[in-house]
Symmetry: C2
Subunit: 371 residues, 2 copies
């Protein structure tokens, strides 16, 4: 698999809609959805793949923004000849509702007040995020997605797609995700939210030009520890002394986490962090019989991937999704990849993941070619 | 095993010493060491067991303080007929150097300035803690400990005792501990320290009457998540709604963590938290060959216990201590107890742990009776 080929220079665009009706009642109006596309939509509009991002991701999934050296967050998997082969597929990246990277969220201006929503933004769910994506996808004239794919929170969206729009999704790839957060997963998000709330600059979400940088940095640090495995931390940092930040930490892992926290606050909004983690925590397709029942409407074929070293989204959670799909007689391939990098594994270039995705899509295309 | 028998009403006492010379140079003068004792010291002074506490513990290991309903932190294991049988042994609980529960630490008055040390308190190591305990134990006229025991940070102290004072310790019980912190273990402490430092009230450690309560509460919340297992959190909280704190959290696990954080700040000092977690992170007897070499001076017999669900101090770390002792031809019993409660398991009433400790001590007493 070629991890280097690139879709080249891309830019994030904004699709505008009159409004979106939220699952829990309120409307948001207008709605803007940030997106990028890679590859060409076929004449039959049957080759579209929607990519859903995780907590801190955005619409920029592949290629390079002008004058930037760092490619999109899943560039290793999206491009000509790659797992999501842009020579063949029309790939769509998009930022989630409630986010802060172009799509309407707490930092957007509320047209009724002329000010940013801030903490007055309504609660949004994973289903609401999917509904906003549905509007975007429909705006291309697409009537059926060839595939929806994502890891972590992106995996939740992917599975929710197959439940909310069973006739709209042919194939689904869910990676390193869960049908609902456990108490432990909620706990890590909860402590992160409390870190933001404890920052005096948070000011009940009305922080204007003085955001709660320290609180958000702490939230990011907590998150980062959970994204890595014991093993990869040992390899990367061990007990080495700090690189910089020598006054505030004695260890390399400390200076790394401080750097991750400090650089995060420049690209992410604290209120968005609260809204999006709440969407994660409230997402629930249930477990056991309830999950099987909730998945009974699904028609898609599935590839479900988990990582052996992922202790934040342990593989038993992905396995349960796979089993519940099987219980509904749906075609599902489940694979636990042995890889030491923890939850972040799905974001890293990994030949096994690339091959699994590539072959799943090839098989799906050949099988479903006549549709 | 009887978990209900009690040593009755006890009180914490203070032993005073002229000074202590720290491993890294500075002296602390005077030194006060908080302690409690349970049972009677034998005429031969050969029945003393020293109990070492974990991060947030103190000298109050067993029995009840007057007018308090909550017993000491290891009351399930210390008392008449219990694992550490006070009908037979003279059991000593003591607060660590650098702590905030009676022993000299950052909250103590620096006699040179007439003010609390605060952040001017010198760095203290696990070895320094052990040296302060040595002075306390010697003050009873004891020339040899029958046993030293502890879990987590207490386990580090117990092992350090056998290295620092090989002729002074006959038996050692180390539980749920490690020969050195991994990067992941450092990372959790690091984020906790950063939470304290980020609180504006911390004020470089000079907070006087306005301590960084929010920062310390956050540190405690982070810690608490790591002390529990995925499984026990599922049992205790699942995805239930909050009990109280309904404005600041949506889930039971959130209200529990907030409560734990808020109640912790009334009994613990933020600077102490920084000093003691740094002592944890800097403690290193090495791993592999280095660990075997460092343990080559040891003469004690060992009971090493780990818990299957403890992901903060995973059992491979205790197993490595046991193997390195075996490599030095020392008598060692290693046991991984299957129990779902996570790192906190060692603090909870557990028949298997009680029996292991009881039988280890009985065997040691019968074997070494003639000494």
């Amino acid at each position: 698999m070629n991890f280097d080929a690139s879709v080249g220079i891309v830019e994030t665009k904004i699709a505008k809609f009159d409004k979106i009706q939220l699952e829990n009642g309120p409307e948001i109006s207008p709605l803007e959805v940030a997106y990028e596309t890679y590859g060409e939509l076929s004449k039959e509009k049957d080759n579209a793949i929607l990519i859903c991002h995780a907590l801190s991701g955005d619409a920029h999934a592949a290629g390079f923004h002008k004058n930037e050296k760092r490619p999109g967050w899943w560039d290793a998997y999206i491009g000509p000849g790659k797992a999501f082969d842009t020579n063949r597929y029309f790939v769509i990246g998009t930022n989630v509702l409630g986010g802060c990277r172009g799509t309407t969220g707490p930092t957007s201006i509320n047209v009724k007040t002329g000010k940013p929503y801030g903490a007055s933004f309504p609660f949004v769910s994973i289903m609401d995020m999917v509904n906003a994506q549905y509007m975007l996808v429909k705006s291309f004239g697409i009537e059926k997605l060839f595939c929806v794919a994502g890891g972590s929170m992106g995996g939740m969206q992917a599975v929710q797609w197959t439940v909310s729009y069973p006739d709209f999704v042919k194939n689904c790839i869910s990676i390193a995700t869960t049908s609902e957060h456990s108490a432990q997963q909620i706990a890590f998000n909860e402590v992160s939210r409390q870190a933001i709330i404890a920052d005096p600059n948070w000011n009940n979400g009305e922080y204007g030009e003085t955001p709660p940088k320290k609180g958000l940095a702490l939230a990011r640090m907590i998150g980062h520890v959970t994204y890595l495995s014991d093993e990869v931390m040992r390899e990367k940092f061990g007990r080495k002394p700090p690189k910089g930040n020598i006054k505030t930490t004695d260890f390399a892992v400390g200076s790394y986490l401080i750097y991750q926290g400090e650089s995060f606050v420049d690209r992410f909004d604290a209120n968005s962090y609260i809204y999006v983690t709440k969407a994660l925590d409230h997402f629930s397709l249930g477990r056991g019989k309830e999950l099987s029942k909730n998945l009974s409407v699904v028609k898609a074929s599935f590839l479900v991937i988990a990582y052996s070293s992922d202790w934040l989204y342990p593989s038993y959670q992905s396995r349960e999704i796979a089993r519940s799909l099987e219980a509904n007689a749906l075609p599902v391939t489940f694979c636990e990849i042995k890889y030491s990098k923890g939850h972040d594994s799905f974001l890293l270039p990994n030949t096994e993941q690339a091959h699994l995705i590539h072959h799943f899509l090839e098989f799906a295309r050949k099988r479903g070619g006549g549709e």
